[in-house]
Structures are given as C-alpha cells and as structure tokens.
C-alpha cells in the first residue's frame, strides 16, 4: 500500500513542479549541488568574534537564557565544583554521568559525592554531561547521544550540570554543523543532537514564563580552560 502511495504522491509532485525528461538532469544536478555544498547563507555578525570575546558572549547569552555558568581552570576542579553546587542548593550529594573518557578520569574521592554511571533511570536528581561544543550567538550547548553522554541525562534529572571545554565555543550554529560533519562524516549523524539553550520552561498557563517544565529546572555550565 505504502509503496503505491509513494509512487502516486511522487508522481503528483513531479507533475506539479513540472519535472520532465528534458529538465531531469538539470534539476538533479541542482539538488546534488545543494546537498553536497550545503551553502551557509546569512551568518549574523554577533558571534563572529575573537576567542575571548566569543566566550564572553556565550556566557552572557547562556545567562540571559537562565543558565548559570562557572569558569574552571582545569578539569581536575570539576568534582569539587559539582559538590559545592549541590551542597549550596541542599541537594543530595549524588551525580549520574555517562562513560565520557573526559569525565571518567575525574577523582571524586576528594568529595562526598556518590557517582553512578549510565543513562538516567528517572530518579536521579542531578546529572553531569560533557558538551561537544557551544554556540556563542545564542548561548546554546551542543550535546550528542551515545554511551559517553546518554541523552536521558539531558532531560530526566532536575539539575543538569554540563562540562564545556572553553576551546569548543564557536560563533554560530553553522560552525557546529561543520564540526559534526568532520566527526561523523558527511550526511551521517549521531542518533540525537541536542541544542540546549537554558533550562526547560513553559508559558502555557496565561503566557506566564515558568522554569522547570518537563526537563531540568536548572542548567549549570562549567566552562573549563581557556578559549582557543
């Protein structure tokens, strides 16, 4: 059934757009060119800054979107920062994270934190992820799925803490997309790419904005190292 529907729909589309044997090669070439060149379009000037200013813009925009941001000198500072963040908010000293090698080496024994590994089961209050990058233009984090950083850690816990390497902050979304292509190959994507701009929210009741809808109530970003 679906096969014949597909043929019927495609036939109607071809007639509607005026496809015929005479223009077929030309049309196919235009589509192939766009898919392979992926032209960039209009890139706003806002994010096109030298590294240090770019990082400042990211922090400013993320803060405007109600995320909180802390800068750390080195990855080894992460355990104590996470412990302090949870303590200040009177949250249970427990954190759930994936198998990201950049987080696996952290020494949590200096803290009282209970660290568990794997995707969220739904009852974790706080989670720790590592972003693959961030966009200065809008204050957006970029996370990808996989055992390193299971997607459920981005959405189920109430407090989401995200580690971001300062050198991974780029100006615009197009720069992130170029990096994804480099990592995963042209035309191939991780199962899920999450662009996250601030904690979850809803304005469905009388257009009043409330933080903490179905995803995290708080998003805390740890920017590690120097921009490069």
């Amino acid at each position: 059934m679906s096969g014949s529907t597909r043929d019927a729909v495609m036939g109607r589309l071809r007639r509607a757009v005026g496809a015929n044997p005479a223009n077929d090669a030309e049309r196919r070439a235009a589509v192939a060119a766009r898919l392979s060149d992926a032209p960039k379009g209009v890139i706003p000037a806002r994010g096109q800054l030298p590294p240090a200013e770019r990082l400042d813009l990211f922090i400013q925009m993320a803060t405007k979107a109600d995320a909180t941001v802390t800068r750390l000198g080195d990855v080894s500072d992460i355990p104590e920062e996470v412990a302090a963040y949870l303590r200040e908010r009177n949250l249970a000293p427990a954190i759930r994270m994936g198998r990201d090698p950049r987080l696996a080496g952290l020494d949590f024994t200096r803290t009282t934190l209970t660290v568990t590994t794997g995707p969220s089961e739904g009852d974790d209050l706080s989670s720790l992820s590592h972003a693959v990058g961030a966009i200065a233009e809008t204050g957006t984090l970029v996370l990808t799925s996989g055992p390193d950083n299971p997607t459920s850690l981005n959405f189920l816990p109430e407090y989401h803490i995200v580690v971001l390497d300062a050198a991974d902050v780029v100006g615009d979304m197009e720069a992130v997309l170029a990096r994804l292509r480099q990592t995963h190959g042209k035309g191939t994507m991780p199962r899920s790419v999450n662009f996250v701009t601030g904690p979850s929210r809803s304005a469905d009741i009388e257009q009043t904005l409330l933080l903490g809808a179905h995803g995290p109530r708080s998003l805390h970003i740890l920017v590690v190292g120097e921009p490069g």
Binding site: G41, R46, G122, G187, M189, S200, R201, G212
Partner: protein, 475 residues
C-alpha cells in the same frame, strides 16, 4: 476532529460573548507582539535571514520530489522507515499497523498539529489505545476534551483558575486541600503526573519542524522538554510530518531556525532544538528501538504549482495569528478546525475544501499585519483574496451577496455610469440622513447599523471634491 468551519459566523458570536475566553485572549496581544518585535530588533540580520529562508523554501518546493527521494534514502540508511500517507484516514491506518505490531497500549505524544489534522487521539481511543498528551498546554486541553486554539500555545484560551479547577477534578488521588494558586504548583503537578507516563509508553509520537534531506533527520523545537522525553523514552518513535517540512541541508535548517523562534515566542533560540536520526544505535544505552516517519500529503501536493504554493513555506510559528485583530477578538476555536488565524484562513480551504471553510478567508480586515510579520513572507491577504474569488466563482456565497457584488461590478466597469449613479446617490443620502448626519438603520446595511450608526455621506463624491480642490480633473 469535527469540522465546524461552516458555522464560523455562529462560532464567533459565541466567542465574543464568552467572558473567560475574552479574558484569556488578552494575553495573546499582550504577550507575543512585543516579544517578537524585541527579538527581531535585536538581530540586525533578521530581515536578510527572512529573505534567505524564503529562498530556501522556494528552492526546496521547486525540487520537492528530488529532496523527498534523498530524504527517504537517508532515513532508510539510518535504520528508520518512511511511510507515505495519502490522507488522514490512511495515516491513521499506518499508525494503527505499527501500534498493533508493537502491541501498544499507551502512546505518549509531544505537540503535533498533524496529529490534530488526522484526528489521531479519538482514533486511538476507539482502538483501545490510550493517548497521553505531554505538552503542558496539550495536557490541559486533553483533560478538558478540547482541541488546541493556537498552533504554538494550544491552551491560550484557558485561564489559570480554569486549569486549577480541571486539575482538582481529574487528579483525584492528590490531596484535595492542596494549594494550587500559583501557576508554578500547577506546572509541578503536571510534571509529576507525566513523569510516570514517558517510560511506560509503547510508542512516543512527535511532530517535526523540519525533515532534513541531507541526513534523514527529523527536528523538533520545544521549550518544555516533553517532546524529547517522548521520543527518547517511548520504545518506538513515530514522527508525524507533512511533505512540505523537507529542507535540503543542516545549514538550511540553521537559517530557518533563526527566524522561527524569534517569530514564534520572541526567543533567540527555543530551549530544545533536537535533531533525531534513526533508532537507537548498537552502542546506545537509551533511545527508541524503532524510528518511523509518517509522511502526510492530505492535499499538499495539490497546492504545489498553484496560486497557493507560497503557503507551503509556512513554518507554523504562529506570528500571523498573534498579530491578527480577528484572532484577538474571536480566538482559535471559532475557525472550526486545526489551523486558526490568517494561516488557517488560507490553509484550511485548501485542505478541507472552500465549500466548508469559505467563511475563513472572509474573516479578515486585510490590515496586512500577518504578511508583515510572517518570517516566510507568505502573501496571506492576497491568498485570502484568491479564496474569495474561488468562492464567488463556485457560487458558494448567499444570493444577496452575489447580487450585490454583481451590481457593483456592473457599475465599476462603467466609470461614467458609476459617477452618474453616485453623484445622485450621495446628495440623496445626505438629505435622507437629516440634520444628525447619521443613519440608525438602513435597508441592506443591517449588519452594520445593528451595532453602530452609519455616518451619512456629506453630499459630494470624492471626484467632485477633488476637482473642486484645484487639482483638476482626476481622469
């Protein structure tokens, strides 16, 4: 869902008298317009991005057959499946086949207007499957047995105290003495209840803001995170999307995203923009086991290559209804189907027929605000005029209206006769109106004079006044 677009006029009379609705509708005008303006002003490239977004969509529509071919190949390469659906009934049957094969009992749902278009919820219930809406607004209206009244703010017609009353009525397992005055508490309660549902669901249904041909990816843009939990935790993810959601590349998506959130909610970027490609991978520890896309035509291929093609650029941001004085006055339900406001006035006749939805393109003051704010620069007023013409051509208007238009058209095509007629009519009307210069009632103009007086002409025609002003004869 039952279509009530035929009774648009009666719907609006009811809406105008509905005190709760009128109270709720004030939030539309107050909330959306200023936020969009601020966001547009904050990005100097906003209009250039709009132009490019229009070009991207136009290019895509001209090559839609080929981009769909490329998209389907990529979805299949990533382990997903695309099902073509001719119409609403066909889409529902495809969904039921998937549900039966998976022995589904519960289906969680992110906000999808295509689901409304195909009437999925009622159909699932008929087949013993429980649909659970997870978007806060959708959840509220599902409790109330209603339909969305706005494409991005489905419960915009409801006030906080009404939500409180509904939660008390339906969440009977909770303490009846609990304090629900603050909207935050209402949100927490919905969050807690829906938390249980995501993991229990056999299928998670979402819509799609974009389908990317380059990668076979579906994109959802949300603020709450419910759509993400729905597509991530349901054992099988089904995407409901219509043909025109296709965009060529990731970069094209990034361009249109910049105008989408700003036009919709005035955000620089919505909280969650999620790109999903295929089912769970071998190494994944979470994610759906199956990934399906039901690609719906339902009349869209018939719009391509016609005067209504521009409407297929629509990205469903809701800006046109947020800025529409008619929508502000009568709300979304008056339009009688899924899509309200100016975009609904153009799209609804295309999808369900001008015989059923002919009133909608007439419900416009032609003020042009919708076109001015449309990020995709869709000429909405022009297309409403096309529908009015079609309605006239198909003899769908009442006899009196047709006769009136006939007389007017006869005169308008004969300038001399027209001028002669009005040069007698104007002084006559002035005389009839007497000293007050107004009519309290007038034959054939009862629709006007029932609500307010009609000012009488001052005795001269425009042409006469112009000639006497010293500008000479305007011919």
């Amino acid at each position: 869902m039952q279509i009530t677009s035929q009774t648009f006029k009666a719907n609006t009379v009811k809406a105008l008298a509905d005190v709760d609705l009128q109270r709720a509708l004030r939030h539309v005008e107050k909330g959306f317009i200023g936020k969009r303006q601020k966001a547009a002003d904050a990005l100097p490239e906003f209009d250039a991005l709009r132009d490019n977004a229009v070009e991207i969509k136009n290019h895509t529509l001209k090559h839609l057959d080929l981009y769909i071919e490329a998209y389907v190949a990529k979805v299949e390469a990533s382990g997903g499946k695309v099902h073509f659906a001719e119409d609403a009934d066909h889409a529902r049957r495809i969904f039921l086949d998937i549900a039966k094969r998976r022995k589904a009992k519960t289906v969680t749902k992110g906000k999808t207007m295509i689901s409304e278009e195909i009437g999925l919820n009622a159909f699932l219930e008929e087949n013993g499957i429980v649909p659970v809406e997870t978007d806060l607004g959708e959840y509220i209206i599902q409790l109330r047995g209603e339909h969305p009244s706005h494409i991005i703010a489905p419960a915009v017609h409801i006030n906080r105290d009404q939500v409180e009353a509904d939660f008390r009525k339906f969440h009977v397992h909770l303490d009846p003495e609990r304090d629900l005055v603050r909207p935050e508490t209402l949100l927490s309660e919905a969050r807690q209840i829906l938390r249980q549902k995501y993991g229990e669901a056999d299928i998670g249904v979402t819509g799609a803001n974009f389908l990317i041909a380059e990668t076979g990816t579906s994109v959802i843009v949300t603020n709450e995170g419910n759509g993400d939990l729905t597509q991530l935790l349901g054992k099988c993810h089904v995407v409901l999307a219509s043909l025109e959601k296709i965009v060529p590349t990731l970069e094209d998506t990034a361009q249109i995203l910049r105008v989408l959130a700003r036009s919709a909610t005035g955000q620089e970027m919505s909280v969650y923009t999620t790109l999903s490609t295929g089912p769970k991978r071998t190494e994944d520890e979470d994610g759906p086991e199956e990934y399906h896309v039901i690609l719906l035509d339902n009349g869209r291929s018939g719009m391509l290559g016609t005067e209504f093609e521009d409407m297929l650029r629509c990205i469903r941001c809701g800006a046109c209804m947020n800025h529409c004085p008619v929508y502000h006055a009568v709300g979304g339900h008056s339009y009688g189907w899924v899509y309200p406001g100016p975009m609904g006035a153009v799209l609804t006749p295309s999808l369900i027929g001008v015989d059923k939805a002919g009133h909608l393109p007439n419900a416009s003051t032609f003020c042009g605000r919708c076109e001015a704010v449309c990020p995709m620069r869709i000429p909405l007023p022009k297309m409403m005029r096309h529908w009015r013409e079609k309605e006239f051509e198909s003899h769908l208007q009442p006899k009196a209206a047709r006769a009136g238009l006939g007389v007017w058209a006869y005169l308008a095509r004969r300038p001399k006769l027209y001028r002669a007629a009005v040069s007698y009519a104007m002084p006559a009307l002035k005389l009839l109106a007497g000293r007050k210069g107004r009519f309290r009632s007038l034959p054939l103009a009862g629709g006007w004079t029932k609500w307010r007086d009609l000012p009488a002409p001052e005795g001269r025609t425009f042409m006469q006044a112009y000639a006497q002003s010293g500008h000479g004869d305007p011919k």
